[in-house]
Symmetry: C2
Subunit: 498 residues, 2 copies
């Protein structure tokens, strides 16, 4: 018997017919219905350019400037409906709330004017926890098709944003363009990678014009957010040198190598205002990168990491003054007992800007399982308020992730984000858990698979272990066998005591 899952794509429309927010409506076998958060345009291969008119009507104002002026944009309304699973009276997250959080610098909608295909979503502490998936070719595995397949897998498994981290490609713009045109979620990049490739891989040849041109060309293509390691200033390099693992951020190490080669201040720091001008023109959000994120427990929470965070906090105010949205990247490898302090300090030093962390990974000794070490730290920091988690795949520290790594990483992080949403009291998060509990109670196996984060996988594990010739939905599983099932006993219990 095949996996049965009754899903219908529906749309909830906002105040104008252009605002049509997609959802998957899941119908369980007992008639219960749930709306699931999805992306995917209207379902076709060439995405509708829904935001073209919205951007045009704003006449050069950025989303942050609209928020500061108290103007609710289509993006804000779209994101509010998406968070609320509803429109009108029943909205738990109103467009006003989205606007207020953006105005306060506590929420971001990454949406480049030149990426009209993107479906707006909001990143912030007050909203559901988001998950980013990284992919990108490297010189060892320079295959653009392989990376486009990872985009598809990322979207199918619930990535809220993606980052194309390609390096060493002959034509990185071609892949990035293909990603942007196929992506209904915001796309981020680290421009330093391409800038270094343009400089022939030699950091000493990486100058400001090359860096600026890279940023500009990527902004024109439609990249929604840039990771810029501008907080890693020269003054912090001695602290980095004292570490066991020094700098493990690729972008950070490019900036550092250039600083050392030229004996000059960090390019992105020195030219930050010019970067802000480009970001303002295209409405690109800045993801202020932590070039000094700790790469090992022994380097966590040190002078280098927190010194950079202080610099980043100052930069976040300059973003705001320039009308450019920003969020803050965070660690990295952090022992469990210091995870919470990272969130607290980030909020304090960065004036409440959304935190976007890589894990944290709570031990160094599990290469091959770092989707788990990082999901542990990620769940905990998201409970404290982190707005978006960057997934880590099982290949981390070992290899470029393959297809299955992308899927495993995303499932682990969707799970982490959901567990944090539940703990944060997100109004819809528990609906799905509670529907699962009822499906378990009633032996509605196919409803359990339908409600699972990875239905195909759950179904496969279950069905391969069942005896042949079994009923469609047997009132037992291979764990306890048919003779004694505690869940079946509960029917008697309820009959007797209620």
């Amino acid at each position: 018997m095949p996996l049965e899952r009754k899903i219908r794509r529906i749309h909830i429309s906002g105040s104008s017919p252009e605002i049509r927010v997609p959802f998957d409506e899941l119908t369980l076998s007992n008639g219960e219905q749930l709306l699931l958060y999805v992306v995917g345009g209207e379902g076709g291969p060439s995405l509708p350019r829904r935001r073209e008119g919205w951007v045009r009507r704003r006449r050069g104002k950025t989303l942050l400037e609209c928020a500061l002026a108290g103007e609710i944009t289509e993006e804000m309304e779209f994101a509010a409906i998406r968070e609320s699973h509803a429109v009108g009276e029943g909205m738990a997250f109103t467009p006003d709330l989205v606007l207020e959080e953006m105005r306060a610098g506590r929420a971001v909608i990454p949406a480049n004017n030149c990426h009209p295909e993107s479906e707006p979503m909001v990143i912030g502490k007050r909203f559901s926890v988001k998950v980013n998936a990284n992919f990108g070719a490297s010189a060892v595995v320079p295959d653009p098709q392989r990376e486009l397949r990872k985009l598809e897998l990322s979207l199918r498994h619930g990535a809220d944003t993606v980052m194309d981290l390609s390096t060493g490609l002959a034509d990185p713009a071609a892949l990035r363009g293909a990603v942007l045109r196929a992506s209904p979620v915001p796309v981020g990049t680290v421009p330093a990678y391409e800038a270094l490739d343009r400089a022939g891989g030699d950091p000493s040849k990486l100058d400001w014009p090359a860096f600026r041109d890279t940023v500009l060309s990527q902004a024109r293509q439609g990249v929604d957010y840039f990771t810029i390691h501008a907080g890693l200033t020269q003054a912090l390099l001695p602290a980095a040198a004292r570490r066991t693992l020094g700098i493990v951020s690729r972008g950070g190490s490019i900036m550092a190598a250039r600083m050392m080669a030229a004996d000059e201040e960090n390019l992105a720091f020195a030219h930050f205002d010019e970067l802000l001008e480009i970001c303002h023109e295209y409405d690109v959000a800045l993801s202020l990168g932590d070039g000094l994120r700790p790469g090992a427990l022994c380097d966590a929470c040190d002078e280098a990491q927190y010194g950079e965070l202080r610099e980043i906090g100052a930069l976040s105010l300059r973003c705001r003054e320039a009308g450019v949205q920003c969020f803050i990247e965070g660690p990295g490898h952090v022992p469990l007992d210091r995870v919470e302090e990272n969130q607290r300090l980030e909020e304090e030093l960065c004036h409440g800007a959304p935190f976007y962390t890589l894990g944290p990974l709570v031990t160094d000794i599990a290469p091959g399982q770092d989707h788990i070490t990082s999901a542990i730290g990620g769940t905990l920091i998201a409970r404290e308020g982190t707005a978006m988690l960057c997934y880590v795949t099982p290949a981390e520290h070992l290899a470029l992730p393959g297809d299955q790594d992308v899927v495993d990483g995303l499932i682990a992080f969707r799970l982490a984000a959901h567990a944090a949403d539940v703990a944060r009291g997100h109004p819809f998060a528990r609906e799905r858990d509670d529907a699962m509990a009822r499906a378990r109670r009633d032996f509605r196996w196919h409803d359990q698979f339908a409600l699972a984060l990875d239905p195909e996988h759950a179904y496969e594990v279950w069905s391969r272990a069942l005896p042949e010739g079994c009923a469609h939905e047997p009132a037992f599983c291979s764990m306890c066998g048919p003779r004694f099932c505690p869940i079946r006993l509960n029917r008697q219990l309820v009959k007797k005591y209620s």
Copy 2:
């Protein structure tokens, strides 16, 4: 090139030549050495019966009675050396500390007099976090050989204790005997399973004599700890009936079914003193089972769960008075924001007895990935003081675990226990992380694999992605490629700034 890992089995001897504690001495390529906690007797297939003389010389006194009398036994010294990786002056955990913690009821060494092959280990908040692995046949998969293979896998991947949870076997004693004779780690069971099988699967025919005979025969075989669901009293059944998922513990539901069928109090509760007599005679520890552990987030922390915990707390005092060691089983499905309260309440209501939890699982919606949902909750509760984590495999909620599930479950939980040890400031936990950080810094790839929780797996992920004809230990990996590796840059950084 094959995986290289230089490991030598060594022993540290205590105050008598009979106390020989095994360790694996790992030598890295730069000469650094680490002792790794292992079990495995002296390495042969038939385990030495090391504890025979120790038990004989105690003349019927239990370990708890020795502790209460201030007498340090060989088991306490063995466990202290094992925790300390050392003997004499350098011990971070002295035999006195083990004795004091046992005397206070905060630590347990499960060690049946009839399981002389077991290597003593201590379970308690002050010591390293332990991991239990469950296996056991079911009527759907009634293959004892398969379960013995799982024992072997469990031992190889670091289980500190194992539980044989077989049901529906024609000859459960044969498998259990084989497990006991092959297991250097403590073996636990849930006697209610076999008792129900003896009653032909009909709870109404399960009477006290049948239950007692089962417990007695298992004690004689050498089972080190019994999960007994004595705290699930009749008075709690109405609260259980009000739940969505009622009772999900198999043992708990057996006791409940019998209570309902006979309209009598829980057998194990009613005859608790007689159970204690048997446990005293063989020195079996009691794992006071949570028959009302929540099976879904919506049933967590309710009247049923905490009401039972209160009963269990009272039973724990009776264990103590009878000279029988005990620890306390805990949840189950618990939302992340209520994990800590479970540890706090357990310590309060159960007078500091060690807590032994199943996860907790922090969401219900990830069947197929529940080793991750439970490792998240498990790490967090272990940070708060839980002494032992029961692993959960990816097959949980779906099927009887297979070999790979056992391995995946154990690795996830060794990782969780280690992350908690680090957070709890265990004196040796960080050594391994820090050695890994140095191996990463130096591109000592084979040292990284040697230090990993799952060396073979890490090596396989790494090596399959490397280009052919690569150097033995290339100074890059397939993630960033050879051109720009941040870790390589750090050598320049150190040269310049130090």
